[in-house]
């Protein structure tokens, strides 16, 4: 881009050339290039800031009003009424909170355990490793909407291959996404299918950075494979596991595409798969309840931030 090539002038200080070709420039890098630093940072940080600061302020402001129908139509300040409405709503809000928490806990827990198991299996090089790694990349890069549709075909109660295969082992046909009670567990399993490889990739990267000596020493001392895993590898991998949990957990809490693509508005006719994100989406774009929707979103954001802060603190503690 032509605009960036005009920018070096800002930081190009002619007097930079230091006479001594010694170990260090005379003025520190930081001092000489303060303006350059900000010239390079401002476009990116400014863009993200503009896209987030005003919108968040707008949403917080809306959450304190009775905005309905159109955001720019007149609305009046109602204080914390929307928050009170949301927090006392046991029909939609609290069940959605419950589903969000259950979905995230179960899916992420399974993904971590399975991902770690697979990473341990793949730790030592083997023939075909590159092919396996390539296969692992596919679900985590694939479009969630396409994944949803694909699983709808597989899990179709009457024509799907899943029930056909279950028939071979004598299990009666299941409703899967077509039933109220099975929808959320089915969605969790799809999530596990799609994101376990992500956990494996992250944990495998962490595993390869671990030093080998502690494990070798434990081996010499007669520790078996399980003992070495529990007492040597797991503690050393703690930071990586916690970081992966944060990354995956945040995304799992916000899962929208898969649920909306397979279950539609409201997470189904009985709201059986309605998580907080789906609920907030429906309030906003189907019901135009901007005030209440904003309150739900503020609560949801605070909830996610709280989880991230707690996990980050644990990560830092385990890293030090």
């Amino acid at each position: 881009m032509t605009t960036t090539s005009t920018r070096p002038a800002v930081g190009a200080t002619p007097g930079r050339r230091t006479p001594s070709s010694g170990t260090r420039p005379m003025v520190t890098f930081e001092q000489a290039n303060r303006r350059l630093k900000w010239a390079l940072l401002t476009p990116a940080l400014g863009f993200v800031g503009l896209m987030i600061v005003f919108p968040l302020a707008f949403t917080i402001n809306l959450s304190l009003t009775d905005a309905f129908g159109a955001v720019n139509a007149g609305n009046s300040f109602v204080g914390l009424q929307n928050f009170a409405d949301a927090l006392t709503d046991t029909r939609r809000f609290w069940p959605a909170v419950g589903r969000t928490v259950v979905f995230t806990l179960v899916a992420v827990l399974l993904e971590t355990v399975l991902g770690l198991a697979l990473a341990m299996l793949m730790r030592k090089p083997f023939r075909g490793m590159e092919i396996v790694r390539t296969i692992l990349m596919v679900p985590l890069l694939a479009t969630p909407v396409a994944i949803g549709i694909l699983w709808m075909l597989i899990l179709d109660p009457t024509n799907g291959i899943a029930n056909h295969l279950l028939g071979f082992v004598g299990i009666p046909p299941q409703e899967f996404l077509g039933s109220v009670s099975q929808s959320l567990p089915t969605l969790m399993l799809i999530d596990v299918w799609q994101w376990t490889p992500m956990m494996t990739v992250l944990l495998l990267a962490g595993l390869t950075t671990l030093p080998e000596e502690p494990e070798e020493a434990a081996k010499v001392d007669g520790a078996n494979a399980w003992q070495r895993f529990v007492h040597i590898i797991l503690p050393m991998l703690r930071t990586t596991i916690l970081t992966a949990l944060v990354l995956r957990g945040v995304d799992a809490l916000k899962t929208f595409d898969l649920i909306y693509a397979t279950k539609g508005p409201g997470g189904g006719s009985d709201f059986e798969a309605e998580t907080l994100n789906v609920y907030a989406y429906g309030l906003t774009f189907d019901y135009q309840e901007y005030g209440l929707a904003s309150a739900v979103l503020v609560l949801f954001t605070l909830f996610i931030v709280a989880i991230v802060v707690v996990l980050r603190r644990r990560t830092e503690r385990s890293a030090s």
Binding site: L36, T134, V138, A142, T143, L153, N159, W193, A205
Partner: protein, 271 residues
């Protein structure tokens, strides 16, 4: 000796099973794209059948699908290119000037639920008359790709030896010159993997286009979603469209696996 052979065999079997579980649904989707609509809904038709291109012909004859394919490519390419231009220099600045705390501010963008931004964005961009334009979709996708590229590249620049740039500077290059001539070329592989990931994230994005696009600027995931709501019986067509969506991803996985892993795990292993 025999214990380790047993372990190796067991490991091979387990890894093979996992691969099968991961790959078969994708294989099933691609196979279904080549089946007639009678075959798609007959689970006894497995992976052996005489393939037909009819589903692909059908969806590609649909002007809306071709248009949305074009939209997805355009929005993905432009948002990624612009994000690289602003995020890579910023990442270098964060890495070289040790401003990790400033850099990690952009992680807020990953935490906040996108829906909480969509109403204000819609309002904001409606005031500017931009809702439904390609520009608004490019900007919204950049909101994802700028932090992504920034985060990946910070780690990458921190991993480059600073001595090379120091040497270039003592030879008379400015700090920015050292960035342009030394660090940037060295960061090319990292930039490529970050860019491919950013493109895929844009390609996959559903929610922004769901709200901010109109008929003309609709992207593939939204079209696929709409297609499903009104043509849920045309499984063959749906699978052909879903397969078309998955092709770039498959190509990226096959040809760029190593780089993509580096990009995905950037920052994750360091915290």
């Amino acid at each position: 000796m025999s214990a380790s052979t047993t372990y190796r065999t067991l490991r091979a079997v387990l890894i093979f099973l996992v691969c099968a579980v991961i790959a078969l649904p994708i294989v099933w989707m691609i196979a279904a794209a080549f089946k007639t609509n009678v075959q798609v809904t007959d689970p006894t038709v497995g992976l052996v059948f005489s393939p037909t291109w009819d589903n692909f012909r059908g969806v590609l004859a649909d002007g809306a699908l071709v248009q949305s394919l074009g939209n997805s490519l355009l929005i993905g390419a432009v948002s990624t290119a612009l994000s690289v231009v602003i995020a890579v220099p910023a990442a270098w600045a964060v890495g070289r000037f040790r401003m990790r705390r400033t850099g990690s501010m952009v992680l807020v963008a990953r935490i906040v639920p996108a829906i909480s931004l969509l109403v204000p964005w819609y309002y904001m961009f409606a005031q500017l008359g931009l809702v439904g334009s390609h520009l608004v979709l490019i900007l919204s996708h950049m909101f994802v790709s700028v932090p992504l590229i920034l985060w990946i590249m910070i780690g990458f620049f921190e991993g480059l030896p600073v001595e090379l740039e120091d040497a270039a500077r003592t030879d008379g290059l400015s700090a920015f010159g050292a960035f342009l001539r030394i660090a940037l070329p060295l960061a090319a592989p990292g930039t490529a993997s970050a860019a491919v990931l950013a493109f895929i994230f844009s390609w996959n994005n559903f929610i922004f286009a769901l709200i901010l696009a109109d008929e003309r600027t609709m992207t593939m995931p939204v079209l696929l979603f709409n297609f499903m709501s009104y043509a849920s019986t045309d499984w063959g067509g749906l699978m052909a469209a879903a397969t078309l969506m998955t092709v770039p991803v498959l190509l990226a996985a096959v040809f760029g696996q190593r780089y993509l892993v580096a990009g995905l795990t950037a920052g994750a292993t360091k915290g």
